[in-house]
């Protein structure tokens, strides 16, 4: 579904991504982990069209998408929940959610999705007509995820979904991601910590210093040592993946 080869990107003179290769197959849940400043957020921003890559290729469903604007990619089925609660603070919760489903043609299904999402995140229902900017940190994060779900994308990218969420809610969020995935949604998720993801991930990439330091199937990484080594930069790039 998503195929990235030799991707480079940066801010001014700073190279944040130095030749990244990454593949997401249809139906997978792929996790990207790595320390602060590794380039995880930059990677998602570049895929979604918020940043122009300086080199390499990006293909989505076989089509080269590098340089296309985000509004176009969105219509092709790509959704991004950016780092740090990019909700519309001055709009109401309702309006925020409405904007999620805005470009969808299937209005009836969209309405049903809305019902479902409000059930998953009851707090959004309680604050439905309130201003989104007044929500608590975790509530805002839930709103951002809910809105992305309403986009009904084919590939959803989430930057640190657990940020600021209560433990119980993290469980709920991951549970609903799992369900969505079972329903056919492909996921590319960035996380800080590796603790919770092993049982959910199809594959995991460890990004460090703008490089892929490790990639592999979750099952192969389950013991955790290789993962930790890659994470903190002991040893060279390795592929446990056959």
């Amino acid at each position: 579904m998503l195929e990235i080869r030799g991707l480079t990107a940066g801010y001014g003179r700073l190279a944040a991504l130095k030749s990244v290769d990454l593949v997401v197959h249809t139906g997978e849940i792929v996790f990207v982990v790595g320390p602060n400043g590794a380039g995880k957020s930059t990677l998602l921003k570049t895929i979604s069209g918020l940043m122009a890559p300086t080199g390499g290729t990006l293909a989505f469903n076989g089509e080269a998408i590098a340089g296309q604007p985000p509004e176009k990619l969105c219509r092709k089925g790509l959704a991004l929940v950016p780092e740090g609660r990019s909700i519309f603070r001055t709009l109401t919760v309702q309006e925020n959610l409405l904007l999620g489903g805005m470009i969808r043609k299937d209005k009836e299904e969209a309405a049903a999705d809305l019902e479902r999402v409000l059930e998953t995140f009851p707090i959004l229902k309680a604050r439905y007509r309130g201003v989104a900017g007044h929500l608590s940190g975790g509530e805002q994060q839930q709103l951002a995820i809910a809105r992305a779900i309403l986009q009904r994308p084919s590939l959803m990218m989430i930057d640190e979904p657990s940020l600021g969420l209560a433990p119980l809610v993290i469980d709920q969020v991951y549970e609903s991601l799992r369900q969505l995935n079972a329903g056919g949604l492909t996921l590319l998720v960035v996380e800080q910590s590796t603790a919770r993801i092993l049982d959910l991930a199809s594959r995991i990439y460890v990004l460090r210093n703008g490089h892929v330091a490790l990639e592999g199937a979750a099952s192969d990484l389950a013991d955790g040592h290789a993962l930790e080594d890659a994470y903190f930069g002991y040893g060279e790039r390795q592929t446990t993946h056959a």
Binding site: S136, G138, P167, D171
Partner: protein
Amino acid sequence: MSRPSKERLEARGVAVAFGGIRALSGVDLELRRGEVLGLIGPNGAGKTTMVNVLSGFQRPTSGSISLDGVDVSKLTARKIAQAGVGRSFQAARLFRAMTVEQNLSVAAIGSGLSLKAARERALEILDWMGLAKKADNRCDSLSYGDERRVSIARALALQPSFALLDEPASGMNDAECEALMEVIAELPARFGCGVLLIEHNMKVIMGVCQRIHVLDGGQSLAEGSPQDIQKNPAVRRAYLGEKAADSTLAI
């Protein structure tokens, strides 16, 4: 470094309502000098609101705040800060165009120091937190983790009797969390202050708090030692979930 003198920061029967939304209803909380008190609870439980009330950014609808028995509910945020209540924010809110050292100096000046003394204190704190190398960096060039550390350091530069930290570990990876835990655990001894710690990362909470206060839906749900809280079925149901509770129990 002169030591803070206040002993107790107390909230009595604090209620906050936004229109129909009751963010807090009748919460009692006491923070003592020298301890680390955890404040946890589900999203929207009212934790940030509580910190806002304690630091003077939110007038309580009813109830009162007192410092060593003196009512400070009517004071402005600045006066409360000067009286010895420092805080950090859920979003770092650094002075972005200024250097790290200047961020701390501002708070030190706010606590009444001269420019020179303020700078000395700032460097001292940065040194202790391992940020000395970054002292002259502008804050808009910091990584996320460093931003969070600077925002804690800035709260400390005020030389507070009480430091209120709102999710300091959010967005940090496991190793960084551990480093942060060491810092927080050392605060009472080093700065002589009481710490109120809001965090969703249970490892951090369980690792450094002597006492934990749980909020749910604007009300106190429980208070006690980490062990008690972890075992408390109501807390498990409302907040921790079985998974998190078990995984942290293992520590």
